[in-house]
Symmetry: C2
Subunit: 476 residues, 2 copies
């Protein structure tokens, strides 16, 4: 029988906090009848966000095209949904049930190129676009492509989305941490990038790429144009590829801020040397279609022979799921002004984004008003990464600990806090140690996806919980 | 810029013949207006096989549940499709757009356990069943789990489905070939298994598992009960896990033959030591829903701590796509006798399987009648692995070549043959070297999925092509 000692040691070392122990405990408590407010994962439709009607109408027609031949049921669909489904069937006559080309259905890759053109005012090459089962699979494909030697390393932000650290561990690559600047709204810092790269060099690591998440997960930060320019110059100087995780590009709430794609800024800089991988997904934004596992990966500055390896890699898994490809298509080609569905689509879109913005404000304002909690109103994405203060128990002095002891002590502190929070209040958040944080600081990541009344309740509950938790430590 | 020399050398070495050069050339020719008969890949719905109506009706309703609230459109669906969709929504209220548990939706895992119970008369544990994006992803997950050290190896059949060789190469494991016995209808041979394992041992390989494909890809063979028993005893004796690729379990055509699952035979033998991974998929059988990327993986004889690693691995990619999970559910829980859709479902099912059986016969009979071609009527799956004879060009004697030269010469011979076949006739098959074959033999794999008239035409065209190809070599 396969024993734990037989199991891939890299897999054993990998961690993925977003679905870790606390979540398993939350499910147990829920099974026992406790109300849980799930703030651990960006899964909007699990928290009552409704899908966009147009997207689902077109999918429904494509799963069962006979509906379109029958005037009765067809009348239940707006004319543009039927027209769109027919157009898709014409361009992809094998339907939802056949494997597609490894890179994805050609007309969809063209539509993505058009979307980038429209978004950024720059051309994109459909033969450098690959459809993937969500952005995660795209990120993993790039790590597979670029990890060649044991000392190949990737710069990743701290805090980061743990897909990155888990994949690096799993693929046997080296993790190179750069800290985001909490004092400066979690932007990247040029000196810190240099420090991080230099430290890696001294550790014998051959850094091959830098990953950037914008808008940020777990930070909720939106990067400025100047910050992105700085990263591109840095990558160019040090011959790094860039992985730009841009799945939250539609989720920008802060007045005056705007999403800038790496592709566009690279174009502005006339950058033709740095290889760019940028990722997008149907799971976030306002669609929130996590279950459909759709997304794409666009590549810039890559020679044909390298791209052929990328295609080969995709071909081994055959292709991404067709419904996910179709949702990706509908994301990049929504109803146009004048189409029958345009008004409803815009209304649904505005309602979802408006609601998220409002919830970001309730959460950010509420938590930052709590004594001992530090955060801002999230600028974007679906998360706040909240710093909190805890006293040390009597007789405990981290200053006297070894770095390992201290690391362990601190990771246990935030995990214990979040677990207690869950048990006492039903609020399920993820400890900061799952994303990484500056030594000596404590955080948790919370989404602001639950319904508004739950967010309001969460703020209240957290206030009471935090005060009593601190009190208990003090009086222990 | 990322150069080829920077790219993962394991990826560069991996090959996946089913979507290789010949297929790319076929697409080019098709673009130029040539009619191509695609026999390279098991993609039924790309070759005009219709989806099962019930499956698509339920999916259509689940993508757009509002259809069920509206008596007009709802009337276009049979009562059991509507009832089924409602039941699914009740058990999985977050619908098709939310992430599920990492292992898949619980009630679907239970339904799979019930399906195994019904198929094999044995119990199955829903907590050892994982939903995957097609069987390929399940196979790759197992390779990830079990590959721990550089000398860990996997026994795979030759010929094999190249997912196995490609994944082994990609993950840095070692490939241990065992030859299937062409003279004995491609069954496994006990002496050959021993020889193969011993050779691996001598090469310093630590063999951890044996992969078996039943019914066979590319061989079309259905393994006998006795053959499966032999493999299980062999695995037990040598402490190997078994990967049982059973995606063609519904595709058995030969009279008197029957699919036997490894799970069932292990149960019969009272086997409680050998870890078994068995794979199933919605892409094959009679559903042919390749585009939906659905499938599952059932595990037997695995301790909890190892299973937890498997779950963690799935969690890093979040979950498999929900529509694929739903199609898997509908595969294992079809309409029952008395349901409104039962009759149509059975009729469609019988028509597809009957058609495949007939086409297997046309292909097998036709090709084996060709001078210089050797094959049988495929017993199962969707393929024939056809051996063919070619004379050596004047002045070429493989006996005088080094093993490397000979290997290269032979691989070039079948590739050249298949490419010429494509150019001359539009028939797209995959060279045997893509699957592996006994040194000194030549094969190609062809599906029998195209419409009947295409299969008949294929046999005729192949006859003429083969004769003229042989003639050209002789007269060169």
């Amino acid at each position: 029988m396969v024993k734990l000692s037989d199991v891939n040691s890299k897999l054993q070392k990998a961690h993925y906090a977003v679905r870790g122990k606390i979540v398993i405990r939350a499910q147990e408590l829920e099974g026992q009848g406790k109300k849980i407010i799930y703030c651990n994962i960006g899964n909007p439709q699990a928290l009552k966000q409704k899908p966009l009607t147009f997207v689902r109408q077109v999918l429904s027609l494509l799963e069962y095209p006979a509906l379109m031949d029958n005037p009765g049921p067809a009348a239940a669909f707006p004319a543009d949904a039927v027209a769109r489904a027919k157009m898709i069937l014409e361009k992809n006559p094998t339907g939802t049930g056949a494997y597609t080309q490894s890179a994805g259905i050609p007309f969809i890759r063209q539509a993505i190129a058009d979307f980038i053109q429209k978004r950024d005012g720059i051309t994109a090459d459909p033969n450098r676009i690959l459809l993937t089962d969500g952005a995660s699979k795209g990120v993993q494909a790039v790590f597979t492509l670029l990890t060649n030697k044991e000392n190949d390393g990737y710069m990743i932000p701290i805090p980061q989305y743990p897909l990155y650290s888990a994949t690096i561990e799993l693929y046997g690559a080296r993790q190179v941490n750069y800290f985001l600047d909490e004092k400066n709204e979690w932007q990247l810092n040029a000196l810190e990038l240099e420090r991080s790269l230099e430290e890696a060099r001294q550790n014998g690591i051959n850094t091959v790429a830098i990953a950037v998440i914008n808008p940020g997960n777990p930070t909720g930060a939106v990067l400025s144009k100047e910050n992105i320019r700085m990263v591109i110059r840095f990558a160019r100087e040090h011959k790094l590829a860039i992985l730009a995780d841009e799945v939250y590009q539609e989720n920008v709430y802060a007045p005056g801020l705007k999403f800038h794609s790496f592709a566009q800024i690279m174009h502005e800089l006339g950058e033709k040397e740095v290889t760019l991988f940028s990722f997008h997904s149907v799971s976030k934004g306002f669609l929130g279609e996590c279950g459909h596992r759709g997304g794409y990966l666009e590549i810039r500055n890559m020679p044909d022979d390298v791209y052929a390896e990328m295609i080969k890699l995709q071909s081994i898994g055959l292709c991404s799921n067709v419904d996910g490809q179709l949702v990706t298509y509908l994301m990049v080609a929504p109803p146009k002004f004048g189409d029958a569905s345009y008004e409803l689509y815009e209304k649904e879109r505005a309602a979802i984004l408006g609601d998220l913005k409002e919830k970001a404000e309730i959460l950010g304002r509420g938590l930052s008003a709590i004594e001992g909690m530090h955060t801002h109103i999230p600028q974007g994405a679906m998360y706040a990464f909240v710093r909190f203060d805890l006293p040390h128990p009597k007789g405990t002095d981290p200053e006297t600990m070894t770095p390992e002891e201290r690391h362990k002590y601190e990771a246990a502190r935030d995990s214990k806090y979040c677990l207690r929070l869950l048990e006492d209040t039903g609020i399920c958040v993820v400890p900061g140690s799952g994303f990484g944080q500056q030594p000596g600081t404590l955080h948790f990541r919370t989404t602001f996806l639950p319904p508004k009344e739950d967010i309001t309740a969460l703020v209240e509950k957290m206030k009471r919980f935090h005060a009593s938790y601190v009190e208990k430590i003090k009086s222990a």
